[in-house]
């Protein structure tokens, strides 16, 4: 800076003296007293780039958590200051891995928290597993997290440091069966599963389960993301007379597919359009215009969840209202999901006798059994070690009541995966 030094700033001599003292202290292995009393928690999420929708609300959640932890936390009779180091992956998996290494190597974090999508979570979890740093994550199908990172079915878990909670194929299955039985249909399901992480996991594991429950699956085969012409799939669905559509597309693919379907009249024959991965956030659904109304969805969190955040003490409604007041935007399901990660992470820290020991924190994660704002997290009874399955609640986008602040409303239509969540509305037929 070319500005003149402020009178109350450090003079060059003072700076040199301080730096010298600090260097001397470091070389002699003396650490300032406060350093040992600070818990450093890394937080990585996609805040910009194609996945920015997921990270949009993270700034607010961080604010809430930092405020709640401003006076530190008490663990085993000792008060620790808390420093949360948040980083943005820019939706780039390579960058996610590098950020993780930077936090581990240069910031010496005690716990890593990472949220949203395989592109964000897997590289970070791998970096933590490689370096021996405890890591907790949520918001991606757990199968892609566990098997996609090289674990094999039927063999002991290869992971010692990384833990994940949240929905998987089993929860989708329960939710879809429960949701699709709410309306009388011919039970013919046209599926559009892309050739990617979620698409392949769903095709291999979910489709057979749905068939067992009496649904006929009409599958035109995997499509590559970025496909611009879906006429053949649409023609097949029309010919088979499907009344339910189920798809796991990225948002631009769904917009292309569903606009073409509307042009070709498919939307008039279907009663349920069940989308996942797309239609999670209000802004994306609003962008679809009238075609977005009455889309079926599934939520990993909803403001109607009856739990309180163990870190911040807020309820779902308080969190959603707080966000709307602070940002002027509509609440999203990501709010509660991100906060639940802090709930679970800090609960694991609180339950360990020594939060500065990475071994102890990892052990605490492996036996964690707690309730977060998004429901139960329990690593003692999962389908595989390192995983705690979580709810995914059937929902629907509907037109908001007259005079509401926002054009769309997001309502709970079923609660098979967490009966504590109150059902708020009946499912409406898409073509009704």
């Amino acid at each position: 800076m070319t500005k003149k030094e402020k009178p109350n700033g450090l003079t060059r001599r003072e700076l040199l003296a301080t730096a010298g003292a600090a260097t001397a202290a470091m070389t002699m292995g003396i650490r300032p007293a406060f350093a040992t009393d600070t818990l450093k928690v890394g937080f990585i999420s996609p805040r910009t780039g194609p996945l920015a929708g997921f990270g949009e609300t993270d700034g607010y959640v961080l604010e809430v958590v930092r405020k709640a932890l401003a006076n530190g936390i008490d663990i085993a009779g000792k008060t620790y200051a808390v420093e949360i180091l948040d980083q943005d992956t820019q939706s780039d998996p390579s960058r996610a891995g590098q950020l993780a290494k930077d936090l581990i190597n240069n910031q010496a974090i005690d716990l890593m928290l990472v949220v949203s999508t395989p592109e964000t979570i897997n590289p970070v979890a791998d970096a933590c597993e490689a370096a021996g740093v405890p890591c907790l994550s949520t918001v991606m199908p757990w199968e892609a997290w566990y098997f996609g990172r090289g674990a094999k079915p039927g063999e002991p878990s290869p992971f010692k440091w990384t833990y994940h909670f949240g929905f998987g194929v089993g929860e989708f299955h329960k939710t879809y069966v429960s949701q699709w039985k709410l309306i009388e249909t011919n039970r013919k399901v046209g599926v559009m599963y892309p050739n990617d992480a979620d698409g392949n996991a769903i095709r291999a594991n979910l489709a057979p389960l749905l068939q067992k429950d009496g649904f006929t699956i009409v599958d035109p085969g995997a499509y590559e993301t970025g496909t611009t012409d879906f006429s053949s799939q649409i023609a097949l669905f029309k010919q088979e007379g499907v009344e339910i559509i189920n798809t796991f597309p990225i948002p631009p693919d769904f917009a292309t597919f569903w606009r073409q379907a509307a042009q070709q009249g498919l939307h008039r024959q279907v009663k349920i359009v069940q989308v996942a991965k797309t239609g999670l956030f209000p802004s994306g659904v609003e962008a679809l215009g009238n075609l977005g109304i009455k889309l079926g969805s599934a939520a990993y969190w909803h403001k109607a969840f009856p739990y309180k955040s163990s870190v911040a003490g807020v309820s779902g409604t308080e969190l959603a209202d707080g966000y709307e007041a602070a940002s002027g935007k509509q609440w999203t399901q990501q709010l509660g999901a991100t906060l639940s990660l802090f709930d679970a992470g800090f609960d694991a820290l609180k339950k360990t006798p020594d939060p500065k020991s990475k071994e102890a924190v990892a052990k605490s994660l492996s036996t964690l059994n707690t309730v977060t704002i998004a429901g139960k997290v329990d690593f003692t009874s999962g389908p595989v070690p390192n995983v705690s399955p979580g709810p995914i609640i059937g929902t629907q986008w509907v037109k908001a009541a007259e005079g509401a602040k926002f054009p769309l409303d997001y309502v709970v239509t079923e609660n098979a995966t967490d009966p504590n969540v109150p059902v708020g509305a009946t499912l409406l037929s898409y073509n009704g």
Binding site: T48, P93, S94, K101, D126, A144, R149, G150, P158, P194
Partner: protein, 338 residues
């Protein structure tokens, strides 16, 4: 040669370049012992720098010396990583798998060169991109990879974090030294002269009796191998293999940036470019979109106003060459008068 009768002299090594060569040896020895001195973060980043140097040098060899501009080199980067995952899955030690995967990339690139080298200029560039995209899709079809789900190289977890980091660092250092050394030796011998003759004028080179196709193939396979090594090293350091990340065209964009800024067709240029890119990424990477726009603008300005890159400008201005791959004519002062 009229070398004897002329007062001027043809030189390869100058005093400066001899000193530079000695300095390179000292620097490499210094780098080799760094893991004992520096912290984990710095070692990790330096390994990334070595990978960048390899990529820049290989793209430079291909485009700067071989005259083959490719925008599909990410194919070899991706294949290096993919083959490593595939081989490691058979129970092979991950580090052995990395070496074998790199060789496999070279083997695959040979038949590919038979087809691709028939294309010229822009056709070759775009053709390589198309083949790269195709390779990406084929890798996605592998049941082990499961589309974009990918697979992590978790067999590396058998190594303790510190040892693993140091091994990857040393492997990257050895790979960089070996590839640069090999390229340097290649460019200095007869083949090097052929390569540069082909770059300057393919027909003329052919009419002088140079086997154009064979020479081009050599450089194509070498570049594929080198970038395969880079991909395997990157995977070892990142662990996660997600096809989209490795087969992304951004890798080739980075290579082009490094070579354009450093100096295309200059041996030192690629290394300088890699160091500059590494520093820019370290300092400005957090700026996101603006960082990428900045990279683009810098590359654009360089290609408009400094087409020889930084090292090219230094070389023309001061007449220095640290890593001499060509010959230089030294004219004594008195003969300059006539």
């Amino acid at each position: 040669m009229s070398l004897v009768v002329s007062p001027s002299m043809v030189q390869r090594w100058t005093r400066l370049s001899r000193r530079a060569a000695a300095a390179v040896v000292i620097v490499l020895l210094g780098l080799a012992v760094l893991p004992g001195v520096l912290g984990a973060g710095a070692i990790d980043r330096l390994a990334a720098l070595f990978v960048y140097v390899i990529m820049a040098a290989m793209w430079n060899a291909l485009a700067g010396y071989g005259g083959l501009v490719s925008v599909g080199q990410q194919m070899f980067f991706g294949l290096g990583a993919y083959f490593t995952v595939r081989l490691a899955e058979t129970g092979l030690d991950p580090f052995v798998a990395m070496g074998m995967a790199s060789l496999l990339v070279a083997v695959v690139s040979y038949p590919l060169s038979l087809v691709m080298l028939r294309l010229k200029g822009g056709e070759f560039a775009i053709g390589m991109w198309v083949v790269s995209a195709l390779t990406h899709l084929m890798v996605n079809l592998d049941g082990l990879i499961q589309g974009e789900t990918g697979r992590s190289l978790i067999s590396l977890n058998a190594y303790a974090p510190g040892a693993r980091r140091d091994i990857i660092y040393w492997l990257a250092l050895v790979a960089m030294t070996g590839l640069l050394g090999g390229l340097f030796a290649l460019l200095r011998n007869r083949t090097g002269a052929s390569i540069q003759a082909i770059r300057d004028n393919e027909e003329a080179a052919g009419s002088l009796g140079i086997d154009v196709t064979r020479t081009k193939r050599l450089i194509f396979v070498l570049a594929a191998f080198g970038i395969g090594v880079a991909g395997a090293l990157w995977l070892a350091s990142a662990t996660t293999f997600q096809p989209k990340t490795y087969f992304s065209v951004q890798w080739t964009a980075y290579m082009i940036f490094m070579v354009l800024v450093g100096g295309i067709g200059r041996f030192e240029g690629a290394i300088l470019g890699a160091v500059i890119f590494f520093l820019i990424e370290t300092w400005f990477g957090a700026l996101g979109v603006w960082y990428l726009i900045g990279l683009g603008v810098v590359a654009l300005l360089f290609s408009l106003f400094m087409p020889l890159g930084l090292w090219g400008a230094i070389e023309t201005r001061f007449g220095v060459s640290l890593m001499p791959v060509g010959y230089r004519l030294e004219i004594p002062p008195q003969s300059r008068k006539d």
